[in-house]
């Protein structure tokens, strides 16, 4: 019987990515969790935008401006459909997932928080889903609370006393860990949070391009992601917010396009979503983002998830057979995505990444903007291989070879 992953010809899809044909050395790109490669259709959409479609968005009455505005708003609808949001007005284009979180922290939480309140994050959060909350809590006399992790790195909800209590104003949680690849039980969290009407923000940067993401079934209040981690261009991301939450949110940036009426000493904001998009919008970014979403949707996120899990599981098995290699996070489980962090005894991950790089294998090394998680793992840094559907068995073989080579050069 054919499974979802088997029915897609992923080797053929790899040919959609020009970068894999661009150099003399085979590129084994295993850093898609940092940023993904771009398919030809996305590159072409950006090229076409600047050649034929480029004009001011929401700012002109001539045909080119009107069609630019229409294309931009159509891109918003594509993202709406991509995450099954109830309305395109609930999609705010931002520069990044980071900016989207900062918008909620500064625009929503700053007003919602009172002294003694709590915001909860987890120990595995990326700094971008940690620092904005740390600051707003400090400024408002609130407490930042951290959901601890168990020994396998998964959320230990039982040890998070008061998580769903009446002091909690927000739970901000990553959907998929950018270090451990763990998929968090967001639906369970939102269900338990709903008892006390606690809003939940989901950082979907590592999930939205890799597995089905539906904001209505997740039942979250906010969800953020960026385009560049899901085959789209850099410099654009989005915030999804429930309409009732967005009406409680002050804009982060003030300026052109976000205001209806400017009076001498007060002003009236424009409608949502324009209110949150001050300045000239990133038209090419939005169009490229929409094409990336459509591209991924056409392949199907179910088969993508399966493919990436299979690649990571194969790599997990191969790496765990090598002496001295420690892999972080739970062993193969349905709660893992295509991200794998590891270390080699006595060898700094920066050395692993550099030697791998010399062999055409692109992996990340460092703390991955997750210093609280590194403290939990009791290591300053890890090496990380992250898989995308365009990777294949050769990439895994190259990774394994690079690990052996690193051990040969630097091992004692």
């Amino acid at each position: 019987m054919l499974t979802a992953s088997d029915s897609v010809d992923f080797d053929a899809l790899r040919k959609d990515f020009p970068i894999f044909d661009s150099g003399p050395q085979t590129l084994h790109y295993l850093d898609s969790a940092a940023t993904s490669q771009k398919p030809r259709c996305v590159i072409d959409a950006i090229d076409l935008c600047y050649r034929n479609q480029y004009g001011p968005v929401h700012r002109g009455l001539y045909p080119l401006a009107e069609s630019a505005t229409e294309a931009y708003e159509k891109a918003r609808q594509t993202i709406e459909n991509f995450i099954n949001a109830p309305s395109p007005d609930e999609i705010i284009f931002t520069r990044s997932a980071t900016e989207a979180i900062n918008l909620v922290a500064s625009g929503w939480a700053r007003q919602a928080l009172e002294a003694g309140d709590e915001i909860w994050v987890s120990q595995m959060e990326h700094h971008s889903n940690y620092l904005p909350w740390q600051r707003v809590c400090r400024d408002r006399g609130a407490s930042l609370k951290v959901i601890p992790l168990d020994s396998s790195g998964q959320l230990d909800l039982d040890k998070a006393d008061g998580l769903f209590g009446n002091r909690t104003r927000l739970i901000a949680i990553t959907h998929v860990s950018n270090v451990l690849g763990i998929v968090n039980p967001v639906e369970k969290i939102t269900r338990l949070a709903s008892v006390n009407s606690i809003p939940v923000l989901v950082d979907a940067a590592q999930s939205v391009g890799h597995m089905p993401v539906d904001v209505q079934s997740l039942s979250c209040d906010f969800l953020v992601a960026s385009a560049h981690k899901m085959c789209g261009p850099g410099g654009i991301g989005f915030l999804y917010g429930k309409k009732e939450r967005l009406t409680q949110t002050e804009p982060l940036l003030l300026g052109g396009g976000m205001v209806d009426q400017v009076l001498a000493d007060t002003s009236i904001w424009a409608e949502i979503p324009a209110r949150f998009e001050a300045g000239s919008p990133n038209l090419a970014g939005a169009l490229g983002f929409a094409v990336a979403a459509a591209y991924i949707e056409e392949i199907g996120r179910q088969p993508i998830a399966k493919r990436e899990q299979e690649l990571a599981a194969t790599a997990f098995e191969a790496l765990s057979e090598i002496d001295g290699v420690t892999i972080y996070g739970p062993e193969n489980s349905p709660y893992r995505s295509g991200i794998l962090s590891f270390n080699i005894d006595g060898i700094h991950p920066h050395d692993i990444a550099q030697i791998a790089g010399e062999h055409g294998v692109a992996i990340r090394a460092g703390h991955h903007c997750c210093q609280p998680l590194m403290r939990h793992l009791n290591t300053p840094s890890t090496a990380r291989a992250s898989f995308s559907f365009y990777n294949n068995k050769d990439d895994i073989a190259a990774l394994v070879m690079a690990v052996h080579e690193t051990k040969k050069i630097l091992g004692s």
Binding site: H348, H350, Q354, I355, H367, P380, S381
Partner: protein, 137 residues
Amino acid sequence: MNSVYKTVLLDHFHNPRNKGDLDSMDRVKRGSNPRCGDDIEVGIRAENEILESVRFRGRGCSICLASASIMSECTIGLTMRQARHLVQQMLDWFGDTISEAPSNTTLAALGAVRQHPARKKCVLLAWVALDETLEIK
């Protein structure tokens, strides 16, 4: 392939010179880079302004540790003024204000790292810590 992992560097990584206990040092300074987890201490002992001993301990990547080891070898026996001058030469060399390696064949082994901006700090961590020990009055 222009690997940074040359014989001299690997030798200093596998067989670090002057590494370990700093108890007998006059002055000790710490250099750390939380971004990559490199964390070392450099100690000196001087007699009549001459460096009798330069030692280090700590953890870090191969380049950081090899650089500290090479540094210790290159600075023992120098006057403190000469050592400060050598540190400055290293900073200039890695800051690209001079293109020539300081006239020392062992130091030249670190030259390949200049091609990798992200690793320059690994090389300089020990040297900056040494500079601080030299500055204490």
